[in-house]
Structure formats: structure tokens, C-alpha cells
């Protein structure tokens, strides 16, 4: 084969790590041109919630001794701010890992273009997930920077809260990505997921009030919600109330969900892209 000037195998192929970074770079080029539209809405939404509930509603309930007991004596604004960080990460993750993935398979078909190059479906999955994690981080950082001057943050613990929020978003993102990759035709279930999975999760995962206020049966159900685990971690980190063993449990749950999601996504991407 040397007659055609073909080099030895491996000479031009990328390592797995480089290949994944190239996928992230491709996504980043899009983001660099379009970040305004997404960043504004991604930051504005939790801010509106924080203003309405944290400031407006919080002013009402901070006067009640019963409420102070439920929030551990923390002003409601401080109680709510890290939870909304996690909520926002999960909501953004839901969007980012459904419609764009579905479109990259079905209408734009860009994934087929990418896997015609040396990039493998597994590298594409990792790169896409890292790209989503980066965007969640950008939006979460912007939210923290905006709320900091208003006294909604207690200290540097918010940085750990930010990491936990992004982890929580990714634990939700990866399994959804597998679903979006498996969805070939017909009406997509994504709007229903937002309405009937994400919204109830936001309302009953301890975002606005402690889970202990719920009936026992519901409390058990809340434990499967990744948002509850993420909120416990983020709030605990932001307020400095995190305890080791519960934190390890929450981390283990979110990490396991992420790992299962990654494996499912890799499987669905491989089946779809290299039939």
C-alpha cells in the first residue's frame, strides 16, 4: 500500500481524549456565536423565581417562627438561592439533552457527519456531555455572579454548590440523552417530560420548602428525584450545613445515575449511528 503513499495506521488518528475535545470545540463554536440567546434566558428564569419567592414571598414567611424552624433559621432568600441554582441546571440540562440531540439525529443529521470522520459514537457521547456540562457551568456561574451583590450568598461554599448543581444537571442529562437518541419518529415526549417529570420534581424536591413538610409516602418518592439529592448537596454546601455521610449518599446516587446514563447513551448512539 506504500505505493499510494499511505502512512502506517495510527499516524493520523486522534487519541480518545483529543477526539472528545474536538467534539466539544465544535459545540463551543456554535455556543460562541449564539450564547446571548441562551445565557440570558437561562439566567433570567431563576432570577425571576428568586425575586418573586425569595424576596417577595420570603419577606412574608421570614416573620413566621414556624417557617424559621423549617429552614433551620436561615433567611428564606439564602435558603432558596442555592436550590434555584440546581433547579436551573436541571431545567437547562433537560432542554440541552433532548431537542438538540433529537435534531442532530433526525432533522439536521449532523451526528452522521461527525461519525463519518475518525470520531467514534462513544467519543461523540462524551464530547456532547462535556459540552452540555460547560454550558450549565457558564449559566450557573452567571447566576451566582448576578445574585452575589444582593446578599443571596453566604460565602465561598457557593462554589461547591455550583459544582453539585452541574453534577445534578448532568445526572439528569445523560439518561435523557439516551432517550433522545432512541426516539426515532413521531411526537417527541420532551414537552411531557418537562411538564410531568421536571415540574413536579421542582415543586416537591425541597426547592421551596423542606421535604419534611410532605406526607411520609411522598417523602419516600422524593428520594428517587435527582433534583432532591442535588438540592440537598447544593444547599448544604452554600449554607455550610453539609454532613459527610448524607453527602456521600447523595453524591453516590447522582454519580450512579450519570454513569448509567452515559452507558445507555453510548449504546443508543452506537446502535443508531453504526447499524
Amino acid at each position: 500500500m506504500t505505493a499510494h503513499g499511505i502512512a502506517e495506521p495510527g499516524s493520523r488518528a486522534l487519541s480518545g481524549w483529543q477526539a472528545m475535545l474536538r467534539v466539544v470545540e465544535g459545540l463551543w463554536i456554535w455556543y460562541r456565536r449564539n450564547w446571548r440567546a441562551t445565557a440570558v434566558s437561562n439566567v433570567a428564569q431563576p432570577l425571576l423565581y428568586l425575586a418573586a419567592f425569595g424576596v417577595g414571598f420570603g419577606g412574608l414567611i421570614d416573620a413566621s417562627p414556624h417557617a424559621a424552624q423549617a429552614t433551620g433559621g436561615v433567611p428564606y432568600l439564602l435558603y432558596l438561592a442555592p436550590a434555584l441554582l440546581t433547579v436551573s441546571a436541571v431545567q437547562n440540562a433537560t432542554f440541552e439533552s433532548t431537542y438538540p440531540i433529537f435534531s442532530a439525529f433526525r432533522s439536521q443529521r449532523t451526528y452522521w457527519g461527525i461519525t463519518a470522520t475518525p470520531i467514534t459514537p462513544a467519543q461523540l457521547v462524551t464530547g456532547q456531555l462535556v459540552g452540555i456540562a460547560l454550558r450549565l457551568t457558564v449559566s450557573a456561574t452567571a447566576y451566582v455572579l448576578v445574585i452575589a451583590p444582593f446578599g443571596a450568598i453566604r460565602g465561598p461554599g457557593v462554589l461547591a454548590a455550583l459544582v453539585f448543581a452541574v453534577l445534578c444537571g448532568m445526572a439528569f442529562s445523560a439518561p435523557l440523552m439516551a432517550l433522545a437518541a432512541a426516539w426515532k419518529k413521531g411526537r417527541t415526549p420532551f414537552a411531557a417530560i418537562s411538564r410531568f417529570v421536571v415540574l413536579p420534581m421542582v415543586l416537591f424536591s425541597g426547592t421551596f420548602f423542606p421535604v419534611s413538610q410532605l406526607p411520609r409516602a411522598v417523602q419516600a418518592l422524593v428520594r428517587i428525584s435527582p433534583l432532591w439529592h442535588g438540592t440537598e448537596l447544593a444547599r448544604g454546601a452554600a449554607l455550610g450545613t453539609l454532613r459527610l455521610w448524607p453527602a456521600a449518599g447523595h453524591l453516590a446516587y447522582l454519580t450512579a445515575l450519570l454513569a448509567v446514563g452515559v452507558l445507555l447513551s453510548r449504546w443508543r448512539f452506537r446502535v443508531r449511528l453504526t447499524p
Binding site: 499510494h4 461519525t115 475518525p118 467514534t120
Partner: protein
């Protein structure tokens, strides 16, 4: 080790119970334009995807650029240029960003890919659209950009799956011209098409596929000589007035092919066949005598008219 860039022996592909490719042998030599012809569902695209290392073979042997797609897929793909049947450009990026991003997937440096993009946009006449979003391009322009994109890694072998389907004649001719230039530069091209004129224009050698099998192989000229007569007489008859004519006309021509709208009479002398038909009382609405083309070969081999 042979000199062929692609070598297949007993190559098969099945999806569950459906067998798309039934065991085919072929060789593609360096520098040639090799065509896969066949109706929809013949197994052309499945074969192309196996060569492109994005669909593992079910059985048989396959070597691409001397390597095995099962074990060296990424390495082989780094040397291929792929033009898929359906465009998969990133519609939300600009024309030049599409090339930049794609070049990076091959590990090409940013500086090199920028220089390459300028050259490629000039080659496909899209320089003045470089900054426009792909969404605004016409179908022909998107196709040209897809071809430019497939060249970003300076491929040794190009795979083009129905490259001109859906394009207007102008756009097709511009595309053919560019593909011909690539051939002149020594790039090996594998093309699937169901346009016979495209195959005749471009292919040095081709195989006709039907039902997952290769039913004929050769250059366009060889295939016409082997499977068709020198001339064809086309008779267009009044609807309903056709019954039985092919019986009457059987010994006028070597072979009679019945299409929905006309009869094709294969004969070495078309004028003589027409005179004989008139003698037997056939009064066609119109008649035409022409040279045989690949389309006639195709009709003979696959026994059906083309489905676009």
C-alpha cells in the same frame, strides 16, 4: 497484497431478518471512478456504509485502504471523504465554520484548516457565501459545500452516495465537472447513483446491483455492448392499443421491453425495425430511434423501470 483500495469478498450485510447485501465481490483500483448502480433497495447504500466504516459487515471479507474496517475504522475514516445521500451540514453555522469544525474532527490544525477552507470554497465556487449561514444556501450550494467538506482532510478515497439527487441540471453539471477534476488529480471515487447519464459520464467501471447482488460488472461501454443492441426503437402507442403488440413485434427486434408509456425494441438497425413494425400494421403515436444507453442495460438487468 493487491493494488486495490477496496477489496470485498463474499461481503454480506443483514439487519435482523432482512438481508440487504447477499454476498458480493468487487475491487476498486486506485485512481478510478467506480460506480454502484441499482434501483432503490438494491443494497448500494448499505455497501457504501460498510466501506465508510460506519456499518460493521455481517459476514465476508472487506479491506479498505489495505486495512480492516472492524479493527481500523477511525484510521480508515481519517483518509476518506464522504458525501452522504442526505446533507448533514450544521445549518446554524456559517459556510466557513462548517469547514473549520469538520477539519478539526480530523485533527487538522486551526491554521491549516483555515487555509484549506479558503482553497475549497474557491473550488466549489462558494467564496462569496463564506460568512453566510448554511440555512440560506440553495440545495445545489449545500451539495457543493458537502463536497468541499468531504475534501478537507485531502482524502485518498471519496464515497459519494447519490451525489446529485434532487439537483437541477445546472447544478448537476457543475458538480460533475468538480468530480471530474478530482479524478484528474488522482483521487479515487466511488459513486452510487440511479441516474444512468451520471454513471455514463463519470464512471470508468461500474457494477449493477439488484436485490443485494451484483448482476453485472464492466465499463459503461462494455455493459452496453454486452447487454443491449446497437440501437433502440421507441414506440409510443395509444393507451389501451398496446395489447398484443409485443407478440406481433417479437421477431422484429432482438428483444422487446415494455414500459408503462412505451415499447422499446432492441435491434441493430432501428430504421429496419420501424419499417417492419409499420408493415405489421403498428401505428404508433410517435417513434424514436436512438443509440443504446446504460439505461437499457439497467432495464434488462433489473427488469424494471427506475424508481426515483
Amino acid at each position: 497484497m493487491s493494488d486495490s483500495l477496496v477489496q470485498a469478498r463474499g461481503l454480506r450485510k443483514w439487519f435482523g431478518a432482512l438481508e440487504a447485501v447477499h454476498g458480493i465481490d468487487f475491487d476498486v483500483q486506485a485512481g478510478e471512478v467506480f460506480g454502484f448502480l441499482g434501483p432503490n433497495g438494491a443494497g448500494k447504500s448499505s455497501t457504501m456504509r460498510m466501506i465508510g466504516c460506519v456499518s460493521p459487515r455481517s459476514a465476508g471479507e472487506l479491506q479498505v485502504l489495505g486495512m480492516d474496517p472492524d479493527t481500523d475504522g477511525p484510521w480508515i475514516r481519517s483518509r476518506l471523504g464522504v458525501v452522504p445521500q442526505q446533507d448533514n451540514l450544521d445549518l446554524e453555522l456559517s459556510v466557513q465554520d462548517n469547514l473549520h469544525v469538520y477539519g478539526r474532527y480530523f485533527g487538522i490544525s486551526r491554521a491549516a484548516v483555515r487555509a484549506k477552507a479558503v482553497e475549497l470554497l474557491d473550488f466549489v465556487q462558494l467564496t462569496d457565501r463564506a460568512a453566510d449561514p448554511v440555512e440560506q444556501l440553495s440545495g445545489g450550494m449545500k451539495r457543493r459545500l458537502t463536497i468541499a467538506r468531504s475534501l478537507v482532510n485531502e482524502p485518498e478515497l471519496m464515497l459519494l452516495d447519490e451525489p446529485t439527487t434532487g439537483l437541477d441540471p445546472q447544478a448537476r453539471h457543475l458538480l460533475w465537472d468538480r468530480l471530474f477534476q478530482l479524478k484528474q488529480q488522482g483521487v479515487t471515487l466511488i459513486i452510487t447513483t440511479h441516474y444512468m447519464d451520471e454513471a455514463e459520464q463519470l464512471c470508468d467501471r461500474l457494477v449493477v446491483m439488484d436485490g443485494g447482488l451484483i448482476v453485472a460488472e464492466g465499463s459503461p461501454r462494455e455493459l452496453i455492448a454486452r447487454y443491449a443492441t446497437r440501437e433502440v426503437l421507441e414506440l409510443r402507442l395509444r393507451p389501451g392499443a398496446r395489447n398484443g403488440w409485443d407478440e406481433t413485434l417479437k421477431d422484429v427486434a432482438d428483444r422487446v421491453e415494455e414500459l408503462p408509456d412505451r415499447l422499446l425494441l432492441y435491434a441493430s438497425d432501428g430504421e429496419a425495425a420501424l419499417a417492419a413494425a409499420h408493415q405489421r400494421g403498428v401505428q404508433p403515436v410517435s417513434s424514436l430511434i436512438r443509440r443504446s444507453t446504460l439505461e437499457d442495460v439497467f432495464l434488462r438487468l433489473t427488469g424494471r423501470s427506475l424508481v426515483d
